[in-house]
């Protein structure tokens, strides 16, 4: 009975939150942000309260098998993915499962007319897992750590546009920008800004999030244990201010073998299997009691160019364009990803990213490729090296196909398959000379995505830079630079989208940055007993409403 009241209160709270969020918003220009989500989240909550009434019908523990563990449970350091951090930590804002910006710890927010000063009003009923009451001062401590240029964390540079972030009183938080940024809300809602407990910051320093004990957030789950490379336990946080999780415990087990994960779901050892291979996806979907969820993701695979390669042809945009034309993306998707329903991407970002406009899938045209090569003076072809890694789903196979397809255009490719460690160490802020002498790749596989906004996605990786710390392939194009700079301060949506459309066009048809391949899907194999499964384009599962019949 107590549970029911709780759920009902949560329902009211959620509805009021959804309504409250955006009401004080003087900014209505953001693409699709805000209140449209109220009906859906309402219905979900109702559904939830019904479920909680039927005691004993649902499992207390859900098992989720996944291929890779997390690196850090520190929102300011984690690069693994966005599957786990949002379960433990909440920020002032966040995303719902359709990538819309929603209020979390903030109840409402407003901006000054010049979009330079943003004021957030905090809820008063937010607690950390440790029991600490969350106030604006905690948010301030979090931002002090995030913005500290002396002791930078991984995401410090991403928020360098913030001039100050201070608590005005216990429940008011004010962010002042150096200049108005079109993408501010998108960037601010990312889980990198999640609120940390200042006591933990003090106590653990850079070790925060390296063990289960050092995790303390305001999110719907507590970390109930973490054995690296083995398993992580999500425990329901009963004092959560929003909907309380429906399942007491969710266990994430690390099972590195794809085949073993499939068997685990088939034998009922797991309720959710993450990272299903394209071939297994079809087979598992056909099995009674298992379904496969395929939803649009916002990441894509691409093979990026080393634009400053000492292998001279690669420095010529015409040659890079020729390589792009010589690759048959449709065939590659048919070959490798048909089981997942993945298709070639038609821009440099996914349709769910703010700023997206389709510029069409680059056509497959070997004749054109040959003509371009001849124009550039390489009619007889040339030799090059492509790096790939099995870290990406079917990355090695994709490399193998590239070798074959580029042969048609007269390009002789040597494939180099590297381990995760070598892959990661290549983006250590090298100059082109250092990179060429140490690695010597002319093209390399990359994943791109995870951002909900064109600026946060692209600026970092394509704006001219001296080292490859973010711009991995030393891409440089003055026109693209100008457009990026313009896009980041243009507030008019239409004008802004035009900037990114032009960028996409240049990157596709004039001066390629990489060969964009498939738009990825978020794929999960689920037991039919799983209810309320939903996953956002950035691949964050809604574990709060997730439940599993016995």
């Amino acid at each position: 009975m107590k549970k029911k009241i709780c759920m009902a209160m949560a329902l009211v709270l959620t509805l009021s939150m959804a309504a409250g969020c955006g009401s004080g918003q003087s900014d209505s220009g953001q693409g699709g942000a805000g209140s449209t989500q109220a009906p859906e989240s309402g219905s979900q909550t109702q559904d939830a309260s019904q479920g909680a009434g039927g005691d004993g019908e649902y499992k207390d523990t859900i098992t989720w098998v996944i291929g890779n563990d997390q690196d850090y449970l520190d929102p300011q350091m984690n690069v693994s993915n966005s599957k786990v951090i949002p379960q433990y930590y909440d920020g002032l804002l966040g995303f719902d499962s359709d990538n819309n910006i929603v209020c979390k710890i903030a109840e409402s927010y407003e901006s000054s007319d010049d979009k330079m000063v943003w004021t957030f009003h905090l809820r008063e009923d937010v607690y950390f897992h440790s029991g600490r009451h969350c106030t604006a001062h905690d948010v301030e401590a979090t931002f002090d750590r995030l913005l500290d240029k002396e002791n930078p964390v991984r995401y410090t540079t991403n928020y360098s546009y913030i001039e100050s972030a201070k608590a005005a009183d216990d429940y008011t938080f004010v962010v002042t920008l150096a200049e108005p940024k079109s993408f501010f809300l998108q960037s601010f809602a990312k889980h990198q800004t999640a609120v940390l407990n200042p006591e933990y910051i003090e106590k653990y320093g850079t070790d925060l999030g390296s063990t289960a004990e050092s995790v303390d957030g305001c999110g719907p789950f507590k970390c109930g244990g973490w054995t690296k490379g083995e398993e992580m336990v999500f425990e329901r946080f009963d004092d959560y201010y929003g909907d309380v999780a429906q399942t007491e415990k969710i266990v994430m087990k690390i099972v590195s073998e794809q085949t073993s994960r499939a068997i685990a779901i088939e034998t009922g050892q797991a309720d959710i299997a993450d990272g299903v291979s394209p071939d297994d996806a079809v087979r598992l979907d056909g099995i009674d009691g298992i379904s496969v969820s395929k939803t649009d993701g916002n990441g894509c695979h691409l093979f990026q160019f080393n634009c400053k390669s000492d292998n001279l042809p690669l420095q010529d945009p015409k040659v890079r364009l020729a390589i792009c034309y010589a690759i048959d993306r449709d065939t590659i998707c048919d070959y490798l990803y048909s089981g997942l329903g993945e298709k070639p991407i038609d821009s440099v970002m996914a349709p769910s990213v703010a700023g997206y406009t389709s510029v069409g899938v680059l056509p497959y045209d070997v004749e054109k490729a040959k003509a371009l090569l001849a124009e550039a003076g390489y009619a007889d072809g040339f030799d090059m090296t492509i790096m790939t890694t099995a870290v990406y789903n079917r990355g090695v196979e994709m490399g193998e196909i590239l070798v074959e397809q580029l042969k048609e255009a007269g390009i002789n490719v040597t494939l180099e398959v590297v381990e995760k460690a070598v892959f990661s160490s290549a983006w250590g802020g090298f100059t082109p000379e250092e990179f060429n002498s140490q690695f010597g790749w002319d093209m390399f596989i990359m994943g791109s995505g995870g951002d909900a906004d064109a600026d946060t996605l692209l600026y970092r990786i394509i704006h001219t830079a001296d080292t490859n710390i973010n711009n991995y392939g030393f891409y440089s194009n003055s026109q693209v630079d100008e457009l990026l700079e313009k896009g980041s301060v243009t507030m008019d949506e239409k004008e802004r989208n035009a900037c990114y459309e032009e960028i996409a066009r240049i990157l596709f048809y004039e001066d390629p940055f990489g060969c964009y391949m498939n738009l990825r899907k978020n794929v999960y194999a689920l037991s039919d007993k799983i209810e309320n499964f939903s996953v956002s384009p950035t691949n964050t599962m809604d574990l709060v409403h997730l439940r599993c019949r016995k």
């Binding site: 291979s277 071939d279 087979r283 070959y335 196979e397 193998e400 070798v403 074959e404 398959v417 070598v422």
Partner: protein, 286 residues
């Protein structure tokens, strides 16, 4: 008929070897695979790298007698080229390892003293790395690829052979025959190359044959751990581990390379045993 008899009579080793039918069968299988590796690509001229989208996981047809793989490549062609890769990796690794092992073993056994001490400790240390772990560590240092797999197998092979040859040499050195050579004033080199090595040869051959089989297993284990040959090169272990994800939807994908590996490794063991019996009847049953 008569001619053959005299041939076998002239070669007692071969005759003893031929006595066991299973050894003969295994030897035939090995010779067959070696022939396939050498001449196969000339007979079956399909390109093992040629991909074809419509044909992935293809059934057995005249065009593709063993079906096709995940990229629509002809499995038979890949098996043939894979035989080349797998066998040459294993031969190259084991033979170079054997050469170094024999050299070290002979030095240790013949010169004794500090040479023996240094070499023996070195071998002890190599032997202290549990099996596959040594190969993993070596490939981790050098990076994946067929040449580095060969190096890993080479180092993997050295300690066992060194130890065995050393033992052989020590027992031969004390034989009356070699002692006699000493007193006749023959040089060390001459004694080593004309008397000791030829006499240790039978054991060396047996050991090398057995190592060849385990080298194929080591190479395939490395491929499974993602530390083996670089794709798209065809290698049996890589083919096997590459197709394990589709083991249920397309079992042929793992069965073909899996059976080939098992068959060849088994054959090496059987031939090795057969040779042991044939070369040295006293060692029988051991």
């Amino acid at each position: 008929m008569k001619k053959e008899k005299t041939f076998l009579e002239k070669h007692p080793i071969l005759r003893r070897f031929m006595r066991r039918k299973i050894s003969v069968l295994a030897a035939v299988i090995l010779i067959l695979f070696v022939l396939i590796a050498i001449f196969g690509p000339m007979v079956w001229t399909v390109d093992p790298l040629k991909q074809s989208v419509m044909k992935k996981y293809g059934p057995i047809t005249l065009e593709h007698p063993l079906g096709t793989d995940n990229l629509g490549r002809d499995t038979l062609a890949r098996m043939i080229h894979g035989a080349r890769t797998s066998l040459s990796i294993s031969f190259a690794g084991v033979l170079s390892g054997a050469a170094i092992g024999i050299l070290l073993g002979v030095c240790a056994g013949y010169f004794s003293g500090w040479v023996d001490a240094v070499i023996s400790r070195f071998v002890d240390v190599l032997l202290a790395f549990p099996g596959l772990l040594l190969a993993i560590a070596i490939v981790a240092i050098l990076g994946a690829g067929s040449v580095n797999t060969v190096i890993a197998i080479t180092i993997f092979t050295i300690p066992g052979l060194t130890r065995m040859v050393r033992g052989c040499v020590i027992s031969l050195k004390n034989s009356e025959y070699v002692q006699a050579c000493y007193t006749m004033g023959e040089s060390d080199m001459r004694i080593i190359f004309t008397h000791i090595i030829p006499n240790a040869m039978s054991q060396i051959i047996v050991n090398v044959t057995l190592s060849l089989g385990s080298a194929i297993l080591t190479a395939s284990s490395l491929s499974f751990l993602g530390l083996g040959v670089t794709p798209p090169e065809a290698e049996w272990g890589a083919m096997l581990s590459g197709m394990r994800e589709v083991v249920r939807t397309y079992p042929m994908g793992v069965l073909v390379p899996g059976i080939a590996i098992t068959l060849v490794v088994m054959s090496f063991s059987i031939v090795g045993d057969g040779l042991r019996d044939a070369l040295d009847p006293k060692l029988k049953n051991n």
